[in-house]
């Protein structure tokens, strides 16, 4: 079947930048190049050049301010913030001095001098390793072009005055372009360049416009007027979509709408499998403000409260009383659901100046988390006393990060006991039966789980570190990142050891690493017997929906099967199969 005018359907794969589906005619927006003429300027005319430069900068500034205003009104102050950087480029004394020096020394016209200087900056920015910073070259180009057009006396780049809905196809869009485009009529964006972190992608997500970037040569390949469809979920630009494709996408669009609606409705429902097993789904938070999101997404309490921020943003260490106030407020808001507070998970290098710390060659294997706390008892005890006091009013539990063996666990428990004694002496209230658990994230702790389980009240498995330490992979190192595999058979065995040890000793076990929020692994984690999964608040409804579609029987069968497998890829494939069979639409 063919589309209108008999053109064959063409699909181009790009990078998904903003979700959603858009249909409409293409408008190809091509960049006209602003040629800059170089010419010699006599000494007597140099002051004129400088004056022209000043005027152009002032004019540019006014234009940017106007755009910033427009964006702030249309989208919000946060998105308009990028133009702050643009304003500062126009005011950048280093840049301006360089241009002036060049005009004076080389007697060239100011357009030429400015373009030379600016393009050197753009060039070095484009070479930076960090993709996010690299993208900023576009911002500099945007401002540069604007200054040059003003120097040339041209009006700002004419932008889309198209009055019909369209899909905008361009090589790249500068922040000015996205600011001035006719948003009422842009249904979707398709760009040759860009990544998920480019400004246009971020803005498209804020505006809810589906976008695909990184299409390489889409602008050359198609002409204005062709019919097209953008699949922002999968990063596809489909030109001349045929009837079958259109029908397929109409269905998908409807499904996605239904899914979003259903996940919202899930808030009040229970996370129980089809055969009646209830899994506690809680949320990870870092800042007290995030409690709103936890409640809005229907999580059953907080499974991991990271406390590092209390220490990082301060000039001095937080006092016991300050911490008590913060913990109590968070605990009361989530009550009667539990709040699990993880004690400080940092090394001395990240703390305020009043903590001595040596530079470590390998901080991941160094003095951090519980190791640091046990060697800085004043810091550790202040936090524990604050937690104990906060537990009076609500359902608080505490856990120690990076426990590697029995010594550390016992020492931690002893300190808790000492803190209780101290509070008792001072006549301060605390909850004597506060549950104390440990994070299982070091392989040695997983291997010793049967012993540790006799001494603590619960386990929470930090899969990110457990995987990283087990397979010796630094995920941020691009050359080995692909070897970081949650489905590694060794990881599955460790998870099983921990879960079995917990249950043999009648304590509960949860997972609070990223694996807990990945619906591909929900069947595996359930089958292993996890009692609790704690993930980012916004992921909770999705995981909940996955749980509700599964039966324990098939999860347990899955575990039996994967325990026989040799390769991470095979395990992942089997997990994916089960997920796809039960909830294909939840897999992102």
């Amino acid at each position: 079947m063919s589309g209108e005018r008999g053109d064959d359907e063409k699909r181009i794969q790009g990078v998904p930048a903003s979700p959603g589906i858009a249909r409409g005619p293409i408008y190809v927006f091509s960049i006209e190049s602003d040629d800059v003429v170089h010419y010699h300027v006599g000494s007597s005319h140099v002051p004129e050049e400088i004056a022209r430069f000043e005027n152009a900068l002032i004019q540019t500034r006014a234009q940017i301010l106007e755009m910033q205003q427009q964006i702030a009104e249309a989208i919000g102050a946060k998105d308009a913030g990028i133009f702050d950087a643009h304003l500062l480029v126009v005011e950048d004394q280093t840049l301006i001095d360089e241009v002036l020096r060049r005009v004076e020394a080389e007697h060239c016209n100011v357009e030429a001098a400015f373009q030379d200087v600016a393009s050197r900056y753009v060039e070095s920015l484009s070479k930076i390793d960090d993709p996010y910073l690299r993208e900023r070259a576009l911002d500099i180009q945007d401002v540069t072009r604007r200054v040059i057009r003003n120097l040339q006396g041209k009006s700002p780049r004419p932008f889309l005055t198209i009055d019909e809905p369209h899909i905008l196809v361009a090589h790249n869009l500068t922040p000015s372009d996205t600011a001035t485009m006719n948003r009422a009529h842009v249904r979707g964006l398709a760009l040759d360049l860009g990544s998920r972190t480019s400004h246009t992608a971020i803005m498209a997500r804020s505006l809810g416009i589906p976008a695909v970037v990184g299409l390489h040569d889409a602008t050359d390949a198609f002409e204005t007027g062709a019919s097209a469809l953008i699949d922002g979920y999968h990063g596809l630009l489909i030109v001349h979509p045929n009837e079958e494709t259109l029908r397929e996408y109409a269905e998908l669009e409807q499904q996605k709408g239904v899914l979003a609606e259903r996940l919202r409705e899930l808030r009040e429902t229970k996370s129980t499998t089809r055969d009646g097993r209830h899994i506690v789904l809680s949320a990870n938070i870092e800042l007290p403000d995030e409690v709103d999101e936890v409640l809005a997404n229907g999580a059953e309490g907080i499974g991991l409260y990271r406390t590092e921020f209390l220490y990082l943003n301060q000039k001095a260490l937080p006092s016991e009383d300050d911490q008590f106030e913060v913990y109590r407020r968070v605990a009361e808001r989530v009550a009667p659901e539990p709040l699990i507070i993880r004690t400080l998970d940092l090394g001395g290098d990240k703390l305020s100046d009043n903590v001595e710390a040596d530079d470590e060659l390998n901080p991941f294997l160094g003095c951090r988390a519980i190791r640091f706390c046990l060697s800085h008892l004043d810091i550790f005890k202040a936090q524990l006393r604050a937690i104990l006091r906060a537990s009076v009013a609500a359902n608080v539990k505490v856990m120690f990060p990076m426990i590697s063996g029995l010594d550390e666990a016992r020492r931690g428990l002893e300190i808790v006991q000492e803190c209780k004694d101290e509070l008792r002496q001072k006549g301060q209230a605390f909850r004597d039966d506060l549950e104390v658990g440990i994070m299982v994230e070091v392989p040695s702790a997983a291997i010793l789980a049967d012993r540790l389980a006799r001494e603590v009240d619960f386990f929470s498995i930090g899969t990110n570190d457990l995987i990283q330490y087990s397979v010796a992979i630094d995920r941020t190192n691009e050359s080995v990142a692909h070897l970081y595999e949650p489905s590694h058979p060794s990881v599955i065995r460790l998870l099983k050891m921990v879960a079995d040890a917990a249950h043999a000793n009648d304590i509960w076990v949860g997972v609070c690493g990223e694996m807990a929020g990945e619906v591909l692994f929900t069947p595996l984690l359930l089958g292993l017997g996890m009692d609790e999964l704690s993930a980012g608040a916004n992921i909770v409804p999705r995981v909940k929906n996955a749980v509700q579609r599964l039966t324990m029987l098939e999860c347990q069968t899955l575990v039996e099967e994967v325990l026989e497998m040799d390769l991470p890829g095979d395990v992942l494939a089997r997990c994916t199969e089960v997920a796809e069979r039960n909830y294909p639409e939840l897999i992102s």
């Binding site: 913030g81 990028i82 702050d84 950087a85 950048d92 900056y121 930076i128 910073l133 972190t197 990240k350």
Partner: protein, 102 residues
């Protein structure tokens, strides 16, 4: 930044130097660099920022972006002038607050 209101006038020339680590997730990209420059520009003192062997003016957004200071980068900030200590304190506070973005 409440510290700005408590500026005490002084004519003595201070020299302050400080090592800081960039902790926000995206590093010193356009928006944080802009905030940095805005704060640095409020002070009379000269502010220089160095990463490894490269040193630039802390009042230049281009310079700051060129440093390509991602998360975890260590910067050495030097300030020289009558209000150097306050400038460093304000800048440090901004960095510690992760540029209010995370």
């Amino acid at each position: 930044m409440g510290l700005l209101n408590r500026r005490t006038p002084t004519d003595s020339t201070e020299k302050v130097e400080k090592e800081v680590t960039i902790i926000n997730r995206l590093g010193l990209h356009a928006r944080p660099a802009a905030m940095f420059v805005r704060i640095a520009s409020r002070y009379r003192c000269e502010i220089l920022v160095a990463k490894e062997d490269e040193e630039i003016s802390g009042k230049s957004i281009m310079g700051l972006m060129m440093l390509a200071a991602g998360q975890g980068s260590k910067l050495r900030i030097r300030a020289e002038g009558p209000d150097a200590a306050e400038a460093i304190r304000d800048i440090e506070e901004l960095i510690q607050s992760r540029f209010n973005e995370d």
